[in-house]
Amino acid sequence: MSAEATPRINAPYLSQFSHRTVRLLGKVRQLRGELATVDAGGDVVVHLNRDAHLQLNHAVEIIGKVQNDLSVRVMACSDLGPEGDIDFAAVDAVVDATHRYHEIFYEKEQ
């Protein structure tokens, strides 16, 4: 079961989740070919795949694997529209709740 879970994290949690598949919701800041920078409580470097179509200043939800250098390799991503439409305080609250009350969100690795 735990293999199917993709915990919601933001930039400060990256180091705790290296080599794991996570969900990251942020604002697209930079697009440079195969690379992008996403602001999710701090800048995160994202390695795009061919199906990923990011738009600047849009909110995006990325499912990807955290690499050794704390960049994220995209497996899937969804555009969530202009970043102004998303309440990022609520997004941060969800990340906080995910880890504070992880019993209903994901299995913690020992």
Partner: protein, 291 residues
């Protein structure tokens, strides 16, 4: 950390759960005869916001039971938000595979023969109606009932609809967390009263640690006290009474509780030294010095 307090404002689901869901607690089934668990009325149904992980972990009391237990509380109808990973249309139903980041679950929507023609028309019409259709990789909200079939769980859904405002994803996850905490740790109001009595977080810790056998200060129950015990405590505290205390029947009425819950909570409070029996073993009073 401001938003932690805001959870109370989204407690609509939690309130509904409190008023209708409290009846059947795991302990009550052993006390009642088995036949009462079979006769279930829809009046006891609750609609609970959940994460898929809660559905995967939900305890199924016995293979034929029509309900599951989440945080020790009976859950019948549930609602959740997830990303649609796969849609497969069968002859009798449409099966959606939903992923909400905590797990995946199959959702079956039975095809209503009469409504079928309309749905077809909608899909063909496209354009204006397109926003009503659930699509793969899109987010959707589901209302339905958790079911177990051949050791595999799925949700039989009444309604599935696409999410248009993505804030609903966050809203749902926070609501599910708030309701989970309501059942696992007790209603927010009771926890706040307990905290108030301790005079802040630090005070609670030192009181709790050094107490040993001593009775807690008025208005304060030690951490870890169960929900039923807290409810019984509040009921006794808030009901006018003589120094003989209250009979369990009065406590049940005052607190709106089931008798089994009152007895269980009362036993816990007796062991904690918070209440004591007076004229007979079913009449209890609070053991505290009125200030």
């Amino acid at each position: 950390m401001d938003y932690t307090n805001n959870y109370t404002t989204t407690s609509h689901g939690a309130q509904a759960g409190l008023s209708t869901g409290g009846g059947f607690l795991p302990g009550s089934q052993t006390a009642d005869s088995p036949s009462t668990t079979n006769k279930r009325s829809y009046g006891k149904d609750t609609l609970r916001p959940v994460t898929l992980r809660q559905l995967i972990d939900a305890h199924h009391p016995h293979p034929d039971a029509e309900y599951f237990l989440i945080d020790g509380s009976e859950a019948t109808q549930v609602t959740f938000v997830g990303q649609v990973r796969n849609i497969s249309t069968q002859t009798t139903n449409v099966t959606y595979k939903l992923d909400d980041g905590t797990g995946t679950m199959e959702v079956k929507v039975w095809i209503d023969a009469e409504a079928f023609g309309q749905n077809e028309g909608e899909e063909e019409g496209g354009g204006g109606k397109a926003s009503k259709v659930v699509v793969e990789q899109g987010y959707a909200r589901v209302w339905g009932r958790l079911k177990a079939f051949n050791n595999k769980r799925h949700v039989g859904a009444n309604i599935i609809r696409p999410i248009r405002d993505y804030n609903e994803i966050q809203y749902h996850l926070l609501e599910a967390t708030a309701v989970h905490l309501h059942f696992a740790r007790g209603p927010v109001e009771l926890l706040e009263q307990a905290k108030g009595g301790a005079g802040g977080g630090g005070g609670a810790h030192s009181n709790g640690g050094g107490a040993g056998g001593a009775a807690p200060a008025p208005g304060q129950l030690p951490p870890g006290t169960s929900l039923s015990a807290r409810k019984v405590y509040q009921a006794i505290r808030n009901t006018p009474q003589s120094n003989e205390g209250l009979h369990v029947q009065q406590i049940a009425t005052a607190g709106g509780l089931e008798m089994t819950e009152v007895l269980r909570g009362g036993e816990e409070l007796t062991n904690l030294g918070v209440i004591f029996t007076t004229v007979d073993e079913h009449t209890w009073a609070l053991l505290e010095i009125e200030g």
